[in-house]
Amino acid sequence: MTDQNVAEEPPLAISAHVQYIQRLDKRRDEYEYWLTEHLRLNGLYWGLTALHLLGHPEAIPRADTIDFVLSCQHENGGFGAAPGHDAHMLSTVSAVQILALLDAFDDLEKRGLGKARVGEYIANLQNKSSGTFAGDEWGEQDTRFLYGAFNALSLLGLLELVDVDKAVEHITQCANFDGGYGVSPGAESHAGQIFTCLAALTIAGKQEYVNKARLGRWLSERQVAGGGLNGRPEKKEDVCYSWWVLSSLQMIGKTNYIDKDKLVGFILRCQDTETGGISDRPGDVVDVWHTLFGLTGLSLLDYPGLEPVDEVYCLPKSTVDRVLGR
């Protein structure tokens, strides 16, 4: 519990991170680039949100981005991860988030198939009897998809297309005695699932179902000696949990339950300050996923020079304020 082993942390390498994200789409000479095409739209959302938080929203050309997003849309309204990939909830949510970020819902209306069709695609994935959501027509159900649906539909102003109460009831069934939530009823609490359930409840205006005292305690117990946060008891710390845990603490107003300075230090030590990007733990390979969640974590921790992030939508606060008119 002492910090004698903790190395001095470098400052945030803003321009290295911007360049790292810009380079992501120029790595076509790498096998990995082709192996991850099924995540292209998600990756674009991660990278673009990171750039907005870094104050460089223009670092990826806006018009090209919108064209690419629209090229991923299917007749049924859903979006695939890239042209030629099947529609899925996760890539559809990413598409909506990117269009929100770029203030491009008009383009969706004029050149794409329109908001209503997207809303219909998502709403059709709800199981009307259980309230849960599937990821696609093949039916895998998960609270991640429920959150994704609430996130995208509320941004589109179409939340009324689904049975919110049924979905909320399902979430309450995923609650555990420790105040946390699991991936399905009976599953152990997991920081990622807590974020999805809590954010969905927050969007639905139903935080009253949350046992905030127990949840706050469980979340605070995720911080380990080095300052990082883990996702479950007795697991290793990981930068992406800076986001799942911290945003959840923010939603229930308890970010003071952890040591913020130590967490800032941990995230900063996970940077690759030379070639940019952030990794899960210090010294590991960086990727855009951990880069985004390192930055959103720092943003919630009020690190200077970063745009404020919205803890529920994982978008810049300014974007969410504009879209929701608040």
Binding site: M1, D29, E30, Y31, W34, L35, T36, E37, H38, L39, N76, G77, G78, G84, D86, L90, Y121, N124, L125, Q126, K128, S129, A134, D136, E137, G139, E140, R144, G148, F177, D178, V183, S184, G186, A187, E188, S189, H190, G192, Q193, F195, G216, R217, S220, Q223, R232, P233, E234, C240, Y257, D259, D272, S279, G283, D284, V285, V286, D287, W289, H290
Partner: protein
């Protein structure tokens, strides 16, 4: 979204300088991959649902098991090619759609997939139907046999992929879809055997990584199916309870196993038709088990979470099933006091373990709550002492201790300790 593919976990950063030769090799690899991808996509988009295309998807998925669109193509290939068509009049499906996890009420691209399935591809696995003398029943039996072989081969196909990528959602999800096909298409006894073997796989995955929550979730799902009427099942609570026992014995800090145990207990006791004495004995045994574990590992969060679960059974007993619902107020108080005393003893060997002080603090408040009273002056001094200890031992969570101090009105007492 929670963790998904494409993100790197636990891979060391190394400077990635490639030689000219390595670069060329990589280009060659990319060329071959994209060629294969292009082949599969063009066949699929033209509804060429042939065994050759099926083989191509196998090759591609071995290279990239995260490629969900190809898993979907494979499902369509099976439905419209290799698996039997549901014959008109007969009812091969015993599965009620609403209870099958793969059955969503509406399928958004139902239109597209049904148009695909009208493209009748050859079924090389089964001989031409309509040979003289065969009855419809014999046809159905043949269909089922062939379906069984196809589904089993699909299950075998995914095993090495799962062992390589145990956290890949798409493989788990595909596997479940195949298993659900078994329920829909095969005689119950045959489908049941397939699902029973699946429990073996879940165990195998958990023995490789005891905390893999995909595998725990998968196991829970498989058990639920095996218990269901669809598979002529009955409760497996006893067996699953024993399984958690085995996992805990292997590693006390396996919170996943403790959690699973906490979820099985209420049902287990109901099914045993446990009377009050049996329930009391059960609780005693659980408390004994966790106390022994805490004696050797008082720093282990997993153990304390389970201990808290047991304590909640005593103090928070309204509105949900608990281990000992018939306990009197006196019983509950006696139990809580005994736990507090036992934990106090832990301090003799471990006087700087934060979780012990937390437990003492918590459970003393539980006791007051049970007795519907405020802490007495003596308790207040003790509570303040423990809280002070927590502040010293764990400054990272000082905000939480400050909240506790405020909410319990101990500010003055803690301040007094500081002087």
């Amino acid at each position: 979204m929670a963790d998904q593919g494409g993100s790197q976990h636990g891979i060391a950063r190394t400077s990635r300088v490639r030689t000219e030769e390595q670069k060329q090799l990589e280009q060659e690899k990319i060329r071959k991959y994209r060629e294969l991808e292009e082949q599969v996509r063009s066949h699929v988009s033209q509804n060429h649902y042939t065994p050759e295309v099926f083989q191509l998807t196998s090759r591609l998925l071995k290279l990239n098991p995260e490629y969900y669109t190809i898993w979907n193509a494979r499902r369509r290939l099976l439905i419209s090619g290799l698996l039997s068509k549901p014959s008109a009049g007969s009812s091969p499906s015993r599965a009620s759609p609403s209870s099958s996890p793969s059955a969503t009420t509406t399928t958004p691209s139902a239109a597209s997939s049904s148009s695909l399935s009208t493209a009748t591809p050859p079924r090389p696995a089964s001989p031409t139907a309509g040979t003289s003398g065969t009855t419809a029943e014999a046809d159905e039996a043949k269909d089922q046999e062939s379906d069984r072989d196809v589904l089993k081969s699909e299950l075998n196909f995914t095993i090495p992929l799962l062992l390589d990528s145990p956290k890949c959602y798409w493989i788990w999800s595909y596997r479940l879809w195949v298993l659900n096909q078994a329920i829909e298409r095969l005689p119950t006894a045959v489908a049941r055997r397939i699902w029973e073997e699946e429990l073996g796989l879940a165990s195998k995955m958990l023995s490789k990584d005891q905390r893999n929550f995909h595998a725990w979730g998968y196991r829970r799902h498989v058990v639920t199916q095996l218990e269901s009427a669809e598979l002529d099942g009955s409760s497996m609570a006893e067996a699953e309870f024993e399984y958690t026992d085995k996992m805990i014995r292997k590693d006390l800090s396996n919170f996943s196993a403790w959690h699973s145990r906490s979820k099985i207990i209420p049902r287990l006791l109901d099914e045993r038709k446990a009377d009050d004495a049996a329930r009391r004995a059960f609780l005693d045994k659980e408390l004994g088990l966790i106390r022994d574990a805490l004696n050797v590992g008082p720093e282990d969060q997993s153990l304390w979470y389970y201990h808290r679960y047991l304590m909640l059974n005593l103090v928070n007993f309204v509105g949900h099933p608990t281990i000992a619902p018939a306990f009197t107020q006196e019983d509950r108080v006696t139990y809580v006091i005994r736990e507090i005393e036992d934990i106090r003893e832990l301090l003799e060997d471990y006087d700087d373990v934060q979780l012990i002080y937390e437990a003492l603090f918590d459970y003393t408040l539980h006791l007051c709550q049970l007795e519907e009273r405020q802490p007495d002056p003596e308790e207040r001094v003790e509570l303040a002492g423990w809280l002070k200890k927590l502040m010293v031992l764990d400054p990272m969570r000082s905000g939480r201790w400050a909240d506790l101090e405020r909410d319990t009105g101990l500010v003055a007492e803690v301040a007094a300790l500081e002087r």
